[in-house]
Symmetry: C2
Subunit: 417 residues, 2 copies
């Protein structure tokens, strides 16, 4: 089945899609000599850098699409944490395929037509939750867009219209809780709200235990993590029965886990880079796309009965997010999993500086107004970081409200060098 779909995909790509045609030619691949899925690993890998480079060389759309540009109806772009945004276009059929992938996420999160889903963010050109919104309408849920509003207004709407589900970043779920706490008099506690599930995405937080626990406690609701990429689609969702594991939608995506240096497949249980081929986004597919996400795969059958492989602990890190400080590899998610254990910390930011040949890492934390003994908390955060990472990281307490807040993807790592 997968073999046939892969063959159809490559057949549609070779010729009209200049980007992949040239990649296949350069790799000396003859499609009719391939046996799929067995020969999948003979196909060249694709990187984001290549795709961005292609768009720079052939602005604005690049050459990685298979039909004339007027066949396309949708436009998205990546949030471009680093560098230029990657533009991504879809036709109605591929878009519908993504909506079907989202319906799988909703089934996993036990969300159905009886639910009311609130989307507390402005709908920009990021794929993020556009597909979630439309898929929600298609399954018959009541979908409420919350663009162009303050957090206060969104909280008021949550009280009035009583959504049962929220889709947002983990950061913004916590931000809403922070604003609600600041305005206790205006709002009933979020833990008593109608919300029973938060589907979070865009950052690893949903699978970082300290972060998800804090969200679940604030909202009195279940967190279901989800992960997807603009250029790939909605890929995975957390198992309801076995929290902390993301199911890969292997009906629609071919997922490999490779050693990022040797590019060889790694065995189950070993960390590696997630590499994805999507089977239904036929006019703008990605073939063996290096996501940059470091994951650990488990292929045994899940407690829930699903046979799809799972990612243990979600997205563990972004390959390019790793920073080496005095010989220690540090991932931002490792910092977050320590910092979020402190209830008193509402926001944080880490900064990497270079002093001569040495790199140093420091951390700013912002505390709740109720927090007493700020220096003591800072000391305890430093201690916990040393225990978790083996590094001594100075922690400073920042003024209340001084650190940036985020609605979409948070940027809490500053590199000054």
């Amino acid at each position: 089945m997968q073999g046939q779909r892969l063959e159809r995909l490559l057949g549609g790509v070779y010729g009209p899609n200049r980007f992949y045609t040239s990649k296949l030619d350069r790799a000396g691949i003859r499609l009719d000599a391939l046996q799929l899925p067995r020969d999948l690993s003979r196909l060249p890998l694709t990187t984001k850098t290549e795709l961005v480079g292609d768009q720079i060389a052939h602005p604005p759309w690049g050459t990685a699409f298979s039909e004339p540009i007027d066949q396309y109806t949708r436009y998205c772009q990546t949030s471009s944490t680093t560098g230029r945004p990657l533009r991504w276009i879809d036709d109605n059929e591929s878009w519908q395929w993504m909506l079907e992938c989202w319906k799988t996420v909703y089934r996993g999160a036990r969300v159905d037509r009886r639910d009311r889903i609130f989307f507390p963010f402005s709908f920009g050109p990021f794929l993020a939750f556009w597909t979630a919104f439309e898929a929600g309408c298609q399954i018959g849920a009541h979908c409420v867009p919350g663009g162009g509003m303050s957090s206060q207004l969104r909280l008021a709407m949550i009280e009035t219209i009583e959504p049962t589900v929220l889709c947002c970043t983990p950061t913004y779920a916590l931000r809403l809780a922070e604003v609600a706490a600041e305005n206790r008099a205006d709002h009933r506690p979020l833990s008593e709200s109608s919300v029973r599930v938060l589907i979070v995405a865009g950052e690893p937080g949903g699978s970082i235990p300290a972060t998800r626990e804090r969200i679940e406690r604030s909202w009195g609701a279940r967190v279901i993590d989800h992960h997807g990429l603009t250029e790939v689609g909605p890929v995975s969702f957390e198992c309801w029965e076995q929290p902390g594991f993301l199911h890969l939608n292997e009906s629609e995506y071919v997922c490999e886990v490779l050693d990022p240096s040797t590019l060889e497949a790694v065995p189950d249980g070993q960390p590696g880079e997630l590499v994805i081929t999507n089977l239904g986004r036929t006019l703008t597919p990605v073939i063996r796309y290096r996501t940059g996400d470091i994951v650990v795969r488990r292929s045994d059958v899940c407690r829930c009965g699903r046979t799809w492989a799972r990612l243990e602990g979600g997205i563990l890190a972004r390959a390019d997010d790793m920073i080496n400080v005095r010989g220690v590899n540090v991932y931002p998610s490792a910092l977050e999993s320590v910092v979020r254990q402190f209830d008193e910390v509402v926001e944080f930011r880490s900064t990497v500086r270079r002093a001569g040949a040495m790199r140093s890492l420091s951390l700013e934390i912002e505390l709740t107004p109720q927090a007493a003994d700020a220096p003591g908390i800072a000391t305890r955060v430093t201690q916990q970081l040393r225990e978790a990472l083996g590094l001594t990281i100075p922690v400073h307490v920042a003024d209340s409200g001084s650190l940036p807040r985020f609605e979409m993807k948070a940027r809490r790592l500053v590199i000054e060098e």
Copy 2:
């Protein structure tokens, strides 16, 4: 045909829709004794105040819907220029009906699958352009959402991805032109941009000659006005062949024009209030809805060949926007049509104050940085206003950047009393 659809509509409403059932009962209407469309005028009128009151009495949804709440998939609310927002819910079928109405607007604006449409605003819970966006995707146009971005970023996107069509408020079309002019070095002139049509809505500006001319000059593009209401749907669009006239989509809406005081039908060519019954939004219809929009209808066949009635000069005023100043009735649109004739004025605001028994009206204008002789311009605006309205209105020049800017509906009339 209209008679049959009206009968079907009323048949579906009577019983399950508590709001309309009670209205019909109170009016002593027996549906089986009605002959439609002849007896339309026997049906009771509906006002926004009634609908808002119903939602206050039965929060949050009111009783003006015909199916259990879990049948609904969409949520919108009015922009609530005054008072509470009115919430409006739709099922997928009614929503699709609105998309079909928007396709009619696109045909009128000569927009088709070859176009790329940019939507420069955050997608909030206002109906405004959600329906435009989805209808655009369905006709196969390339639709680009621009939520959560600065005007600068939106201008950069317009340069990069080259949309041919923009959907926005007239105010925001001018605001983008203002920002482009402030940043001449960064952008090529908008008049040389790829945009060839601007579909504007949300305010009367698109049919105010001085406003539309200024937009058309700034953008080197054609303005097509459009008008719709959250609780009604997308109703009308400007005729390409005969600018200044809005065609009413009489296939899907029953449109009447009534004297707002006597509630009798007014003849063609006389101003009156537009009253609308929508035929396809079956689970949340409005029946004989008083829009509050003052219009002049023309029913003769248009130069373009369409037999649908037209609104001459668009929406002339909102019935409740009229202010009486020293015995003179002033509509905000009349002020706008004078002020927009001055190229030097980038933004304005009018204020109504009460001093004892007297009401006074004053005007603030904000000038382009290039404008010389500010006091002279203020004097000329006063003169023009006196000629147009017969009132002496003091005009003050406000500091550059001091007046509010708007992305969605502008609020330029301040009432201090």
